[in-house]
Subunit: 274 residues, 4 copies
């Protein structure tokens, strides 16, 4: 294999038949994690003041790594299977969603080094959290998951409609009962809906709660029904997720068996997987 | 098909064999949603003051749409299968629950335009939330759901009885332990029951909580048992819902197959569904 | 059937083969519910002052009903199947747990009428909540439920041990981190355990929460692990409950079939059940 | 059997084929529980002052019991099956993780008796909570559980990644919307993440919550998605736990059957188990 082929196999997530990450991919995953953590921490004013130079240095390093990765992906793009000239394959990568994300991440990673204006810096720092979208490349699971959920979208919609009607009943009741007593919390249905959602999901911040007997009876009903009704979409989503995971395991198993038949996997790999 | 037949097929939810909504139904669903959202938002005093004229205009439009729908339904009622004269079928629709709801929604939608008195307006605006009951027409799922839950009503009753006995024990214990220490929160069993329900469902507003060691031990037991016991009806409801959804999918499948046998569906539809 | 036989069949919950309640049983269930609700409401000082005479009157009525039921049970006890003289059967009922509960409930129901001392009255009123134990007679489900859970007691114990070790780790960590910063909330491990339980069960009153970064990381871990670990016993209890309910339904089915074979059920009943 | 054999069979958890604890093991379990409870309670300053001498006395007793157990384990170690001299088997036990824990627990149990310095005493008392690690010996379940979860680690990782990306989105949104309005709660992404975790897990302390309309819409989405997404790993962990328990029961059943074939179990035991 020449350098371009090695680079392509190291960079491309689907290149290994058994679904494991290559060494280069593992390095990239850790750099992305480090970049996201740095982006998160740098929004804390106290932390930013104390480690200002180190953060800038880290951002420079992350930017260079991401730039090198982007250049390598463009260089190795012609190795992608399918027809088309080297140039058209490179352009296709650069215009693909993942290619555009790569470029945007490089720009927002380098930006803090050149920007001195504090307000602009704050926005750029927040934008740097998008680095996490680079993970999109590693989520074969996302697509299957989305498909599995779409299949059950009717069930989910029925559940959410039921839940919303119930929320609206609860919120209207409390607007009626305590609207004049606690105008801040229940003075309108949108306000009462905030209370209803927070009670329904059993979060219960305590910023709004009924204080009359009638309101508490309604509140109890909302809390109990919340526990019962919220469980329905949960069950649906859990079943969909479990199906998608099962599907994925079978896909990997099939790919492994095919590869073994073609003799692509050496004995060591086979022994490890069985 | 003449106009009356077209109207009937466009309006009637069960007229399409595959359970999908007709174009007119989709328009009506969105108008109902818009009417409910307007009704909710108009209870917010600030919002109402700023957009007063626009809200009145929207209510006028919604009222006209609902009036036209009501007139069309009465006009198309004779197309309903079964014996009886055109007049008797129209009267039967007007006296059916869905027909009465339609009329009430029209009245409360037009009312804000003619009412100037602020207190009366507030009541009417709240009542306009009943527009959501027009959705009753689209919920074939509701009936099956209700039946599935009724079948397991004994299990649910046992669960709720267990939960209530436990809640009463917890509330009595805290009334006994902290009744004199925190009279506002635990000064009577009904008050302690409010605390018990909010702890049991893990909402936990924080408006009432035990402060003594004994009370905290009881509170911990109530919280832990809550997590365990509340899960039982959840499982029952989730299983009932899943059964009802499965049942519904089979019904639609059967209806589709029957229609295909009779050659009612054209090839395009069949290809889409399989 | 003579009067004693009719009374026995009306009073005894297992006398009807299909598990439904007799007319007399339904009346008794409603009187017990009314007695418990009265007992609960009478602990609210405001309510007690306003309806004092009505509560006393209701308690007198409940007491007379319970006394009559107790007398009828003693009178009808000899109808119970099995060997032994009428007197020994009556004594056996009076000394059985349910017989003793019946007597205690009668005493605490009549007590408020004869007691004038406010402090003593408060205790007696609280004790009247035990009326709910009379429901023990109607819970064939309780026994099966308890057996089903006992079978899985090892699994439950392992779960609870895991959860407790985790709670202790969390509580110790916060005692270490914030013990000196918030002595009221985390000044000792027992205090920190209260916080840990309330976080673990996702109740979250908000009377105690970490304020340092390290404390918040530990708190996040406790909350996330709580959601994961608390679900385990929930699953076990739910499965045990579902088994017990299934078992009960099969038992009733068998009893019905046996009764049908012996021709004990008339045609009307059979038609209703199938 | 000589004394050393009896001691080994009494001490060793796996020595009894049916998985039940020996008498000596039961005594040890209760002493460990008592030691942990004493360690927990002694961190409460009020309690420690009042019962200071009794706590010291109890610690002395626990220390002697643990010392005797440690000595007995070393003495009985040569009974362990497998090759090796008595001395090498004893050394192997002393250097095994469980042997080291035993020694450490003895040291921290005796320490409070010799230490007078209050600050040092506080640290030692906290360390005494490690006594709970002695339970490690009784958890054959732990190992199987850990293995079952490791098998599904990919599913869990995907879930946690999804949840984290969602948390980050919610936290970034609120940092953007309310960062300047509530700097204490949402002034940086790490702070907003604390709010997001506490809302996501439905704990909801109420120390931080959105107050603007936009913030509340985001907060509602985080709460609802939390209920849905947190359920996924829960389902995975519950299934893994259920598998591990099933596996364990089968193992015990097999061991019992083998023992019965070899005639090791007397009739009384067999009758009890079937």
């Amino acid at each position: 294999m020449n350098l371009r082929q090695i680079l392509y196999h190291q960079l491309h997530i689907g290149a290994k038949t058994d679904g494991r990450l290559t060494l280069l991919n593992i390095v990239l995953v850790w750099v992305i994690i480090a970049a996201v953590v740095t982006a998160i921490m740098s929004t804390e004013v106290e932390f930013d003041r104390q480690w200002h130079d180190e953060i800038l240095m880290a951002e420079l390093v992350f930017g260079i790594v991401f730039l090198a990765e982007y250049a390598a992906r463009i260089y190795a793009a012609p190795e992608h299977p399918g027809p088309g000239s080297a140039l058209s394959k490179r352009l296709r990568f650069m215009l693909s969603p993942l290619g555009v994300i790569d470029l945007v991440v490089i720009l927002v990673t380098f930006a803090p080094i050149f920007i001195a204006n504090a307000a602009a810096l704050r926005v750029v720092r927040l934008l740097r959290v998008v680095s996490i979208m680079k993970f999109g490349r590693f989520t074969a699971a996302t697509k299957e998951m989305a498909m599995a959920i779409r299949e059950r979208s009717y069930d989910l919609l029925v559940c959410i409609a039921f839940a919303f009607v119930f929320l609206l009943c609860g919120a209207s009741a409390l607007y009626w009962i305590e609207g004049e007593l606690q105008p801040e919390a229940f003075g309108s249905i949108p306000r009462a809906l905030w209370w209803a959602v927070i009670t329904f999901t059993t979060v219960g911040y305590g910023d709004a709660y009924p204080i009359t007997s009638a309101g508490r009876v309604v509140g109890s009903l909302v809390a109990i029904t919340g526990v019962l009704l919220v469980a329905l979409p949960t069950g649906i989503v859990a079943a969909a997720f479990s199906d998608a995971m099962q599907h994925r395991r079978e896909e990997i198993q099939k790919a492994l068996e095919k590869a073994r038949e073609r003799g692509e996997l050496d004995d060591e790999d086979t022994r490890e997987d069985t």
